[in-house]
């Protein structure tokens, strides 16, 4: 029974993809099936969160080979909530894709690949082994490579080249780090690594290897100065694809950073802390300034992913229980809000035929409901109370003040203001100003928006509002998850029962 709850979030997308491949002829079957599978996955993920929250860390040894030799799947609160949020995004974007993805892309097997992507993402959240993490990353990457280049348009292919090359490069670094680490320590099970590195004599070797991993994860998470692939590619594919990418993929990198720094490389964290804080601060600032320069909705939003990643890494770098809780809360909030903003940009694109702020306008008048639906996630991203982003930023700032990082906190607040500036820019240009006269070959349109595109946006906006108004429950959960990360004995003793209570921190 224990095994089932942790394996289901992997089996459902895998067999879902196979099932959809089997019925690839019927476009209707693809669309209906996708929503059903996504809903099923959501239910399984909710079950996982419930089980983990009630009964603590769950570990399953696939094939019954005891850790550290077997394939270990572990779900602690962090892993479970990440699975749940990504399943939620899978459902929302799945519904959106029913209308957004055209028949031709569906025929090119969009939906099976979509579920392979979710399969890889969930696997990365649930694995307890560094080499398996590498494999899950590759599963996720190959699916995302296909999704980003599926349409075969010129811009898509060009973005895909940049996206693929830099991600392949980071995979090479990841694999090299895994190999060196195995050569040094002789294990790749994360819990076992944590135990063996506790009193490891040659600290310098471990620090240098951890740097290799850090760079690999920072490329995936789009941390400064490794983020350039992201704003060059995320605005090219259809809105549904960029929404699921924006919500999930960089956050898998952030998850890997959190997991590796809190579990594996905890004993040497002091050596990394200053570096992480400065990387985070620069990520926030450079990201938000890049966004300020742009005038196309999706390009602006892409740069904001980078700047928001900075907040999460910053919270991780403070490394107190409150800061870790803030990081987890921030990740959850950010995934929901950012996916929603990309979906809104997709609606604008569908309605107007362009998301270039210079060409469009008057949406407040022609679609006031859309203005409200944009307002909620946009100003949540900017950190306006009582929306979810305010509490996320508040927790990050408070934990920063507790550890006395004044400069970083100042930067976080400053970036918050600039984020708000970008959001008001979109608001003012796309919604408030009058529709400009048609320029060149662009003719502004006012096409109807199908209900399948609106429903997920409403759903996610409601979730943002709910987290804002009743954030207590989620924040308490994040605090419990952070405790599990901060005091990792429960994780280690669940994976390696023989280590038992022998580890003291």
């Amino acid at each position: 029974m224990n095994g089932l709850v942790i394996v289901l979030p992997l089996l459902i997308p895998l067999f879902g993809a196979v099932l959809l491949l089997g019925g690839a002829r019927s476009i209707r079957f693809q669309r209906v099936g996708a929503i059903a599978i996504a809903a099923l996955l959501m239910a399984a993920a909710a079950w996982l969160v419930l089980e983990v929250d009630l009964h603590g860390v769950i570990a399953v040894q696939i094939g019954d080979w005891a850790a550290p030799f077997g394939i270990t799947l572990v779900a602690d609160r962090l892993g479970a909530i990440m699975v749940a949020v990504s399943a939620f995004m899978g459902l929302a974007v799945g519904i959106f894709a029913v209308s957004d993805i055209d028949d031709e892309r569906v025929k090119k097997k969009f939906f099976p690949v979509f579920f392979v992507l979710l399969f890889g993402v969930n696997g990365a959240f649930l694995t307890g082994d560094l080499f398996n993490l590498y494999v899950w990353f590759e599963v996720m990457l190959i699916a995302s490579f296909v999704l980003i280049g599926l349409g075969g348009l010129k811009d898509e292919l060009e973005g895909a080249i940049k996206y693929v090359s830099l991600n392949l490069f980071s995979s090479v670094l990841f694999l090299a780090a895994v190999g060196i680490l195995y050569g040094e320590v002789g294990t790749l099970n994360m819990a076992d690594l944590a135990v063996k590195l506790e009193n490891y004599p040659e600290v310098e070797l471990i620090v240098s290897t951890s740097m290799l991993l850090l760079v690999a994860f920072c490329i995936k998470a789009a941390v400064f100065p490794f983020f350039f692939w992201l704003p060059a590619s995320y605005h090219t594919p259809p809105a549904a694809v960029s929404a699921i990418f924006a919500g999930l993929l960089t956050k898998v990198g952030v998850y890997a950073l959190i997991r590796s720094q809190t579990l594996i490389f905890r004993p040497i964290f002091d050596e990394v802390q200053v570096l992480l804080i400065w990387l985070a601060v620069l990520t926030m600032i450079v990201g938000v300034l890049g966004a300020a320069r742009h005038f196309e909705m999706r390009r602006i939003l892409s740069f904001h992913i980078v700047s928001q990643i900075g907040y999460m890494v910053l919270a991780l770098a403070f490394m107190t229980p409150l800061a870790l809780a803030a990081a987890i809360f921030y990740v959850v909030h950010h995934i929901i809000v950012k996916t929603n903003l990309f979906l809104v940009s997709g609606i604008v694109l569908r309605k107007k035929g362009s998301a270039d702020l210079a060409k469009i306008g008057g949406l407040y008048k022609s679609a006031p409901w859309l203005a409200v639906l944009f307002f909620i996630p946009a100003f949540s991203l900017g950190g306006i109370p009582p929306l979810s982003g305010f509490w996320a930023k508040f927790a990050v700032v408070q934990s920063g003040l507790e550890v006395g990082q004044w400069v970083a906190v100042g930067a976080a607040l400053f970036v918050g203001i600039l984020t708000l500036f970008s959001m008001t820019k979109i608001w003012g240009e796309a919604f408030w100003k009058k529709q400009p006269e048609s320029t060149g070959d662009f003719v502004p349109e006012d096409r109807p928006v199908p209900v399948f595109m609106v429903a997920p946006v409403v759903l996610l906006a409601a979730a943002t509002l709910f987290i804002g108004l009743y954030g207590n429950g989620l924040f308490a959960f994040s605090e419990r998850a952070a405790e599990q990360l901060f005091d990792n004995r429960e994780y280690i003793s669940t994976v390696l029962p023989q280590e038992g209570e022998g580890i003291a921190r």
């Binding site: 490579f145 280049g149 292919l157 895909a160 080249i161 693929v164 995979s171 050569g183």
Partner: protein, 116 residues
Amino acid sequence: MIEIILALFIGLLFAAGLYCLLRRSLVKLVFGLILLSQGANLLVFTAGGLLAGRPPLIAKGSIIPDAPVADPLPQAMVLTAIVIGFGLVAFFVALVHRAHEAVGDDDINSFDQTDT
């Protein structure tokens, strides 16, 4: 001895791969990534420790093999990595071909439409 030769060779692969990545040709980008991933594979293989002529076989009647034996795990990992790398490179070559058709140029400098 063999470790030193392999280590030098890994360094060479990484250097050549990086050099190719930094060139402006799309084809050299592909070659660079192939060389890099082969370098990483070889690194995993070598870092796991090399031991010739000692297969990890368990003699009849005992439960663990007589030390020292070669570690089979790095080889299993390298096999996995090779297969993954093969798939990714195959995909990447196809992608580069399509992109080359769409953009009509092999020079990476002409790939600046989506840039920031």
